[in-house]
Symmetry: C2
């Protein structure tokens, strides 16, 4: 609608048959509501959590001895002290980036709230990144201050000479500070810095679209990319986390965020907990299966969140040394697809319900959540539960099909998932003096995020991801799923592993190349047999013409097929390819 009518004309023209004329009158301002114009700020979550839910608790695991315990009320007071220290002692002003190199602990929560609430930007550093990347990221963000866990000083100290923007290092907890001797930045002790400062702070009323926190993604190619979360996006995301259809947490819960606080804000849990008074159990650096089983057994959390690898390790640990984890009413798993066998094992052996979720740094990260529809039997629920799940109302989704249209939600037509919403990235941080970055392969011209994931969506909105977009074979305007071909191949009894990659083809643009690792006892299985085997299982036009048997599929550092290497080897003529 381009038409707006002035308020006067509404009032005085009872008969308005001259409607087209009214269209021309675009002078009246739009009719605004009479609601309060109150910004959605991190400081509001902090103020709420530390007053209404002052008695809720943060418990930090210490490995041995008693865990450290503090209330939300105390956390609010310490967050105020931290903000005073940063402002008055270290000269941190609005928009300054303050980095953390920390595990999941109470002090990290204090930083989570103090830094955005005072108008500065919390920059969580991923301590697992290679040091060159860490140095690049700190420089790109121009961090002025780094808060670092004492236990992580050995990691930080060698990098300090190269961290040119950093003026202050604040050491949290005990650690060998001798490694910092002679370093350029000023060194402070966290507790000494806070001591004696006022326990209230007059948090500024900010524009809710302002940057509140940042997190860099470590792409496999190119420089890391920084996502700048806003107060608004974090506030809305926290509400979503607490919605019954997502994690549904209340102050009767205790959540255990195993997912690190340097990894997309621990999936938003620290903010979400303060919004509803959910108690937190924080593992600090004790992320091994043994201590995790200990702390669950001892502290009885009702919810936990982690990537599949962690849970797999916990299962093995419990098989070896049983402990009671039945206190967990639900466990959220994300980060990568979760093996159904593991979900079943948790449920059948430990009475713990596992919920699958999908997201990425650019989606804050809550993108979808795999609650099955109501009224199904446990067996009927499985296909829904192992999918990536349904989108919340604030995440709009579409599938960009290979032909430039959008694929229907029919559960069959694949497309690259694109999403839009108030907690989805529109760009990456360009650096202090540069415009935001909007690489074409990550953002559509109309502003949607291109996730790089290919999948299908059912008519009732369940997403199933199959491939990374870069691993899909674009053959004559249609897409071939490499994962589907690989699964079909690996179903053959002689095949140990199989990786399928796209290679250039004059006629079709791209075609699949099948790279196969045979089992030791495979005998004389040939390409013809494998091709015939495939032809019975998938559409004929998808069957590869190009085949090669290799000794092993190259893998990335986290054990995934490294298809970039295979494509490189093919391009360099290093593979012995048979064309059928």
């Amino acid at each position: 609608m381009d038409a707006v009518v002035t308020y006067q004309s509404v009032r005085t023209h009872n008969q308005r048959h001259d409607y087209p004329c009214v269209t021309a009158l675009r002078e009246a301002p739009p009719m605004l509501s009479t609601m309060q114009d109150v910004p959605l700020l991190v400081s509001r979550i902090l103020r709420h959590g530390s007053t209404v839910h002052a008695a809720s608790r943060i418990t930090t695991w210490t490995g041995e001895g008693e865990p450290r315990r503090q209330t939300f009320g105390e956390t609010g007071e310490r967050a105020a002290q931290l903000a005073h220290a940063l402002r008055d002692e270290l000269g941190v002003v609005e928009d300054d980036r303050v980095a953390t190199l920390m595990w999941n602990n109470a002090e990290h929560v204090e930083a989570y709230f103090a830094i955005p609430s005072m108008g500065s930007v919390l920059h969580t550093l991923n301590l697992r990144l290679p040091s060159d990347q860490l140095v690049w990221i700190v420089g790109h963000a121009a961090d002025r201050v780094i808060l670092v866990d004492g236990s992580l000083l050995p990691l930080l100290a060698p990098l300090l000479p190269r961290l040119e923007t950093v003026e202050h290092v604040v050491v949290v907890g005990a650690g060998d500070t001798s490694v910092l001797e002679g370093c350029r930045p000023a060194v402070h002790d966290y507790e000494s810095l806070l001591r004696g400062r006022p326990t209230v702070y007059d948090w500024p009323e900010l524009d809710e679209r302002r940057a509140a926190a940042m997190c860099y993604t470590s792409g496999t190619t190119g420089d890391p990319k920084g996502v700048l979360f806003s107060h608004r996006s974090m506030y809305l995301h926290s509400m979503q986390v607490n919605m019954a259809q997502s994690m549904g947490l209340t102050d009767a819960d205790t959540t255990l965020p195993v997912v690190p606080m340097f990894h997309v804000n621990a999936w938003g849990l620290p903010h979400a907990t303060f919004m509803t008074g959910v108690n937190m159990l924080l593992p600090d650096r004790f992320l091994q299966p043994g201590p995790l089983a200990e702390m669950i057994d001892a502290e009885r959390p009702t919810h936990a969140a982690a990537v599949p690898t962690i849970w797999q390790g916990l299962l093995a640990e419990l098989a070896e040394k049983p402990r009671d984890i039945s206190c967990l009413r639900s466990v959220t798993i994300g980060g990568s697809a979760c093996p159904p066998a593991m979900m079943r094992a948790f449920e059948e052996e430990h009475g713990v319900r596992v919920c699958h979720a999908w997201g990425m740094t650019e989606t804050s990260p809550l993108g979808s959540f795999a609650h099955p529809p109501a009224g199904l039997s446990p067996e009927e629920e499985w296909p829904y539960r192992i999918s990536q799940g349904r989108f919340p109302a604030s995440v709009e989704a579409r599938l960009a099909a290979p032909d430039g249209t959008f694929a229907p939600w029919d559960g069959e037509s694949p497309g690259e998932l694109e999403v839009r919403g108030p907690w989805i990235a529109a760009a990456y941080y360009g650096g202090a003096t540069e415009e935001p970055l909007k690489p074409e392969d990550k953002f559509s011209p109309d502003g949607w995020l291109r996730t790089g994931d290919v999948g299908v969506i059912t008519p009732d909105g369940y997403l199933t991801l199959t491939d990374r977009a870069k691993d899909v074979i674009k053959s004559g305007g249609e897409w071939i799923s490499s994962v589907e071909l690989e699964n079909a191949l690996m179903a053959h009894e002689a095949v140990a592993e199989a990786a399928v990659v796209a290679v250039p083809d004059e006629k079709w643009g791209e075609r699949p190349l099948a790279t196969v690792v045979l089992k030791e006892d495979a005998g004389d299985v040939g390409y013809d047999e494998l091709r015939a085997f495939l032809a019975e299982r998938i559409a004929r036009w998808q069957v590869p013409e190009r085949w090669t048997i290799i000794p092993a599929v190259p893998k990335t550092s986290v054990g995934k097929f490294d298809k970039k290497v295979l494509r490189g080897q093919y391009a360099a003529g290093e593979l012995d390819v048979t064309r059928l």
Copy 2:
């Protein structure tokens, strides 16, 4: 903080001891996030509900025979048709007010989504108001169109000659349209208007602060006041309703909003349901205890929402003719304080948990929700459950004390409740050509809503309301609760009823006047005895000096003490007051 540093200076000044100088540089724009700037719109909720939750159902009770059933998908299509009809056939443009005079039914839900989504303003008319007020409200809102249930034509028809702004009447469902013969506005049939129109609509991308819906409150004094809800306020409120700490609804639920859709948007339930696919059971005009019991027994809702009177009636109905309502896992009660005995009866006799909530039109209405803290025994929970509950993070609260300060949250110090948040009103609609209204007694100078309710808040954030502010006695800078005095008086065995009102006092500003109705068999109880009885129970300075025995306490139409009448009688010297 007033300081902002330009991005350049952050990058190039590693050592910044000149921090105060930087403060002067307020030139750089604040650092915005890289999140998408996606508005929170009613159309987004509609699009989500009618696609991702297309299979969720709206069931409308019909009294006899089969209920009418339609899916969210169909509702989305019909909402699009309605928007086309309003725009193309009736000439409705953005910001036009379109009124509804309707019960809770599927068509009302269609209007709920179509009208705001197309950029117009939904105006729900309270069919229980006196006709003069209805006429005034329609004129003040300048409604151009009224959608009316066929069953409500006898109510609307006599008013039409006085509804000067109304150009179109759209009749929904069957009804005696003969009463409309000869009326000035054009008359349309809802179904004929929709038939054949496109089932998709290109909903405009609006400013989220724009007016989406309006609702007038019927104050006891002065003209009704219109609250203009925004897209933003309704979107955020819907998220809150679905948070586990509020109603916690999911697509496994079916909710029964008995609270009328003309009463603060049925507490936000129609929007909240589309946000998460919650099925709806709508009672249409069948709000009597009998049909309510029928529909609960037959359709098995898991949640319901209504005012206490309705539930009291249902209890009596079930006592007389038992039916199974155990399908209700929770029932939300609000609108006025809920008798604890009723809550117990629901729980003990029917296995239905009742949750108390507080709100008002100006708070959208979700203001607080009475979930008890975790870990208490059922008996320990009661004081929390009969309170008004705790505030969500988006509702900030303070108690304005009689001395001009804010009262502490100590569970004892009373104050007038003031609230602030993104779904709280900042003003009332002033009319088409006027500024918004901000009466001093409703809005504080710094923009908080003055609720007119007096109460206390405990250290853990539980609100208990005791008096309406206008019924509190402001005596020498302290407040005396009229309700507390009344309860103390009514505990005397000779007292049938007692009402306490403030009357002017030269020395103290105001003092309490005790008006007492004695029981028939009260004997010769005198003022001295009553005063002595009070003095043992309340602080001496609160004991009234002025007493009068009256035959009955005047009551309002809903049975509450009408203290306005008592104050008037006192001022006019019509009461026989004894001064002790």
